[in-house]
C-alpha cells in the first residue's frame, strides 16, 4: 500500500473577508511525501507566498479560508486545531524559511541566542547540552567557525551566512516539512547556488519534505521532484519535474531570443568614445568620513580601465560586492575618488588626479533597480518627465512641454493616457519605462542601468531590454549595463567586463566570454546563471 502523504492540501481557497466571489487563492490541491521536493512556481503576485502563509495559518486577520479547505498534516486537519495547539506544531512539525534573512532575524540578539530560542521551545535540552546542540545545528548548515558565529550579530554575517542561520533555526526541532519562500532570491548568484546545494543535502539527510516557493525556473529545475505552476491564485498544472522541464525546453526553442547587436569590425570602427576610464580607484575612505583611518586603504574599485563608444552597450557583470555600483556612481560624479583619466560624455571629471563630486547635472543618467522607488510618489507621470525637459530647454512653454512629454512617452512605448496617473497606478514595467523617459528627457549621451531589470519578471525585462537596445542604436548613445546575471548580459551587450573585488578580471566580446571563459570565476558565474 502506498504510504499516506505527509501533507495533503485540498481545495485551499483564501479570500478577503466578505468577498467570497473574489478569491485570492482558489482550488489548490497538492500532496507532498517525505524526502520529496515540490516547487511552487509562479510570477510575482500569483499567490505563492500566500499559499505558504496559509499552510502555516499565518494569514492576516482580513483574510479568510474557504469553508471547504482541508490542510491535512499526517492525516490531521490543521485548520480544525485550536490556535494554541497549532502554535506548538509550528516549528516542530513544519517550519518556514523566509526570503530576506536580514529582516527575519532580530538585529539585537546574537545568532546563538536566536537559534537556542527555537531549541529551548521545542526540545528539553538545557545549558551545556543546548549549546552543543546549537553548535551542531550551525555546523549542519555548513557554517564555518561556528563558535564565532554563535557570538556574532546578524549584521556581522554575510547574506548567505544569514540564510544558513535561518535554515538552522527552522531545522532546530527536526521538522518534517520545510517551507522555503524564495530562499535564494535575496542572494547573489554564487551564494544562491551554495544554499540550494545545502537544501538538497539537508533534504536527503533528514528526509525532509521540502516545499520550495520560487519564481525562478532555474532554481525549480535544479531542485524539484514535482512542479506545481501557480497563476493568479490557481494551480494550472502539476507534473513531475523532469517532464515539465523537458517540455519547457521543447517549447522554448522556437521562442524569440533577444537580438544581440553584432560586434562591429574593430579596425573600421569610426565611433566616438563616450566614456573613457583609466586607472579608476575608489577607496572606502572616499565614501565614508575618515573616522578610522587605516594604513592600507581598502579599494572598492581597484585601478579599473574601460571604454564605451557611441551606439555601444557594455555590460559590467559581477557578484554582489564586486564594486559594480560604486563604479557607476563614480562615473556619474556622485562620489570622490582617484583616476588617471576619467572622461564621461566629453566632461573631464578629474581635477589634479582626484575626482570631485559634481554639483548640478550629472554627465550621464542612471536607471535604477527599483522602478517604483525611483519615481516620486507625489508627482504625476507627465510632471516627472516634464521637469527634466524644463532643464534641458530653458524657455519651454507649457504646451510645448506637454508635446515633448508625449513624444518621449511614445518613444519609450507608453500610451498617452497615462500622463495624469501617479506611479502607484502603474505596473513595475511601466514605471521603469517612465524612469527611462525621465533619464532621456535631458538628452544624455550616456545611460547607465544598474540592475534595471532585476525586480521585473522575465517577459517585462525582455521588453525593457529591447527598448533600450533600440534607443541606443537610434540615438547613438552609450549604455553601461550593470548586472549580476551573465547570461542575460551576454544577450544585452556586445562587450562584457567581468568584475571581481573591484578589478576587471576579464573583458571581451560576449560570445567569446560565454563560450570560452578564461577565468575560473566566470565559470562559476556561468554555471550559476544557467
Amino acid at each position: 500500500m502506498k504510504p499516506l502523504p505527509l501533507l495533503q492540501v485540498q481545495n485551499l481557497g483564501v479570500y478577503l473577508k466578505n468577498k467570497i466571489d473574489q478569491p485570492l487563492l482558489q482550488d489548490i490541491h497538492f500532496e507532498l511525501n517525505r524526502g520529496e521536493t515540490l516547487c511552487l512556481l509562479g510570477e510575482s503576485g500569483s499567490g505563492k507566498s500566500l499559499t505558504a502563509l496559509s499552510l502555516m495559518r499565518l494569514l492576516s486577520p482580513c483574510l479568510q479560508y474557504h469553508p471547504e479547505t482541508r490542510i491535512l498534516l499526517r492525516n490531521q486537519d490543521v485548520l480544525t486545531l485550536p490556535e494554541g495547539l497549532f502554535q506548538k506544531a509550528r516549528g516542530k512539525e513544519l517550519a518556514l524559511v523566509f526570503q530576506d534573512p536580514f529582516l527575519a532575524l532580530n538585529p539585537l540578539l546574537t545568532i546563538g541566542q536566536q537559534v537556542s530560542e527555537s531549541l529551548a521551545l521545542h526540545t528539553t535540552l538545557k545549558g551545556e547540552l543546548q549549546y552543543q546542540a546549537c553548535l551542531e545545528l550551525l555546523e549542519s548548515v555548513r557554517l564555518k567557525n561556528v563558535r564565532l558565529c554563535y557570538k556574532s550579530y546578524p549584521h556581522q554575517l554575510s547574506a548567505g551566512m544569514r540564510q544558513r542561520v535561518m535554515i538552522a533555526m527552522a531545522l532546530a526541532a527536526r521538522p518534517q516539512l520545510l517551507i522555503a519562500d524564495e530562499p535564494t532570491s535575496a542572494l547573489d548568484v554564487v551564494t544562491q547556488q551554495e544554499i540550494l546545494e545545502l537544501l538538497q543535502d539537508l533534504k536527503k539527510r533528514f528526509e525532509l519534505a521540502l516545499l520550495l516557493i520560487t519564481h525562478d525556473k532555474k532554481v525549480a529545475q535544479q531542485m524539484a521532484d514535482e512542479v506545481a505552476v501557480i497563476k493568479q491564485g490557481k494551480i494550472t498544472e502539476t507534473t513531475r519535474g523532469f517532464v515539465f522541464f523537458k517540455r519547457l525546453e521543447l517549447q522554448q526553442a522556437p521562442q524569440k531570443m533577444l537580438k544581440t547587436i553584432p560586434g562591429k569590425d574593430a579596425s573600421k570602427d569610426y565611433r566616438k568614445t563616450l566614456v573613457r576610464v583609466q586607472g579608476l580607484c575608489v577607496s572606502l575612505d572616499d565614501l565614508s568620513p575618515k573616522t578610522f583611518k587605516s594604513k592600507q586603504e581598502p579599494l572598492i574599485v581597484n585601478h579599473l580601465t574601460l571604454q564605451v563608444k557611441e551606439a555601444e552597450i557594455l555590460a559590467v557583470v559581477g557578484e554582489s560586492g564586486s564594486g559594480k555600483t560604486t563604479l557607476a556612481r563614480a562615473l556619474l560624479g556622485l562620489i570622490p575618488g582617484r583616476a588617471e583619466n576619467l572622461v564621461v560624455n566629453g566632461r573631464v571629471l578629474l581635477e589634479k588626479g582626484r575626482i570631485e563630486t559634481i554639483k548640478g547635472q550629472a554627465p550621464a543618467q542612471l536607471v535604477f533597480q527599483d522602478p517604483i522607488a525611483s519615481l516620486n510618489p507625489r508627482l504625476k507621470i507627465a510632471e516627472a518627465i516634464g521637469q527634466g525637459l524644463k532643464i534641458a530647454y530653458a524657455d519651454l512653454t507649457p504646451e510645448e512641454c506637454e508635446k515633448r512629454v508625449i513624444l518621449l512617452m511614445k518613444k519609450v512605448g507608453l500610451t498617452t493616457e497615462l500622463t495624469g496617473r501617479y506611479p502607484h497606478e502603474l505596473s513595475a514595467g511601466q514605471c521603469q519605462r517612465v524612469a527611462i523617459a525621465r533619464a532621456l528627457s535631458v538628452n544624455p549621451r550616456v545611460l547607465i542601468c544598474d540592475e534595471a531589470t532585476r525586480s521585473l519578471d522575465e517577459a517585462t525585462a525582455n521588453d525593457i531590454i529591447e527598448l533600450l537596445q533600440h534607443i541606443v542604436e537610434k540615438e547613438d548613445m552609450a549604455l553601461i549595463w550593470i548586472s549580476h546575471d551573465l547570461t542575460k548580459a551576454s544577450r544585452v551587450a556586445e562587450r562584457i567586463c567581468v568584475m571581481k573585488n573591484g578589478e576587471i578580471v576579464e573583458e571581451g566580446l560576449s560570445q567569446a566570454i560565454m563560450t570560452q571563459p578564461q577565468h575560473a570565476y566566470i565559470q562559476i558565474l556561468v554555471k550559476a546563471a544557467s
Binding site: 550629472a362 522607488a373 525611483s374 516620486n376 510618489p377 501617479y422 502607484h424 524612469a435 528627457s441
Partner: protein, 412 residues
Amino acid sequence: MTPVFLLSDILLVAIMAAIIMIFVRSYRNPRLPQWSLMFKEPMAMVAGFLLASFGCIALLDSCRYESDFQVRTVLDLCLQGLVQKEGPSYAAPLTAIAGVDSSPLVDGVITALNYSTTMTGLILLVFWFRGCSCEQGLWQRMTNFIKGQHFYAWRSFFLMLWLISLVICIFYQWIAQYYIMGTDKLGSDILYQALKSIRTALAVGLLSTFLLLPCALFFGLLAGYFGSKVDRVITYIYSTIAAIPSILLITAAVLILQTSQIQSADHHLLILCLILGLTSWAGICRLVRAEVLKVQDYPFVQAVQMLGLSDSKILLQHVLPAVWPIALVGVTLDFSGLVLVEVALSYLGIGVGEGIYSFGTLMNNARMELVHLPVVWWPLLSAFSLVSLLMIAANFMSDVLQAFFDPTRRPQ
C-alpha cells in the same frame, strides 16, 4: 456703533480666509488636487464640521464694535442673555434663575427638537429635490441617502447639522430661564466664559502654528539637505532652545516683553503667540531634519539631482511633500501642547492679559474651586469638554489631511 479692528482679529480672520481660499481655488480649478475629496470620509466630514463650528464662534468673537463706550463683539450680541445675567455665586448647572417663572427643562428640549428637526428636514428636502432633475428619482435619492451611498459623506453632514442645530436650539430655549453651565464665585456665567475662550485658544493655536511651522520646515529642510556646516549650526541652535525647559524660556520671554510699554490685552495675546511660536519649533524641526535625511537617499531624489534640478526645486517639489505629513502630525500634537502651555502660563499669572477669557484662566480658577465642599466641578468640566472636542477634531482632521497628501491613500 462703530467697528473696531484689533491686530489679532485681523490676523485670525486672515488665516481663516486663507484656508477657505485654498478650498475655493481647488474647487474652481480642476487641475489642482481636489480638497473636497477629503469629505468622502464620514470621519473627515464630522471633524471638519466641528472645526468649522469652532471657527464660526471664533469669527463671531473677532468682529468687534463699540457702543456706549464699550467694545463688544458679535458673539456678545448673540449671547446677550448670558452677558447681562448677574447671578448668585456657585450656582450649579441648570439652576433656575430666581425671579423668572421657568417652564420644565424637558419642554425646552422638545421645542428645540421640533425646531432643529424641522430645519434640518427642510434643508434635506431641498437637497433631495435639487438633484431630482438628473436620472434618479426622489425615492431613489432618499434610499441612497439612508444607505450612505453618496459620493460625499452627506449622511454624516446632515447628522452633524441636526445635532448642532439641536444644541443651539436647546441653548436658546434655556438661556433665559437657567444657568446652563452654572456660575463662578463672582456669579458670572461659566458657559459665556467657555464660549469666549474658544477664540483665544484658536488664536494661540493658529497664530503660533503659523509662526512655528515655517521656522521648523525651513531650518529642518536646510539642515537635513545640505548637511555639514549648515546642519551643525542649525542643530546647535535648536538643541540650545530645546535644552532650556520650555516653560521657563517662555516665562522669561513673556516677562521681558511685557515690562515694556505695551499694555493692551490684545498686544499681550499677540506677544504670547509670537513667543510660543518662536520657542517651540525645535521639536518639529528635529523631526523634519531626520525625515529629510531619510528622504534624500531615496532613488527618486537622487534621480532628479542627476537631472540637474536646482536644489531649491528639489527641496520644494520632492523633499518637502515627502516630509510634510510628518510635520503635519507634529503640528497637530503641538497645537494641543500650545493650549496647555497657555494654561500653565495663566497659572503663573502671566498668560493672556486681563479681560481676555481663556481656557487657561478658566481651568486655573476652577482648580482652586475644587477644594470647596460640595465640589464646584462645572467650570473645569465645561473648559475640559470644549478643549477635548477641539483637540479630537483637530487630530482626526490631521489624519484625513495626511491621507489626502499621499496619492496612494487619497480617496478617489
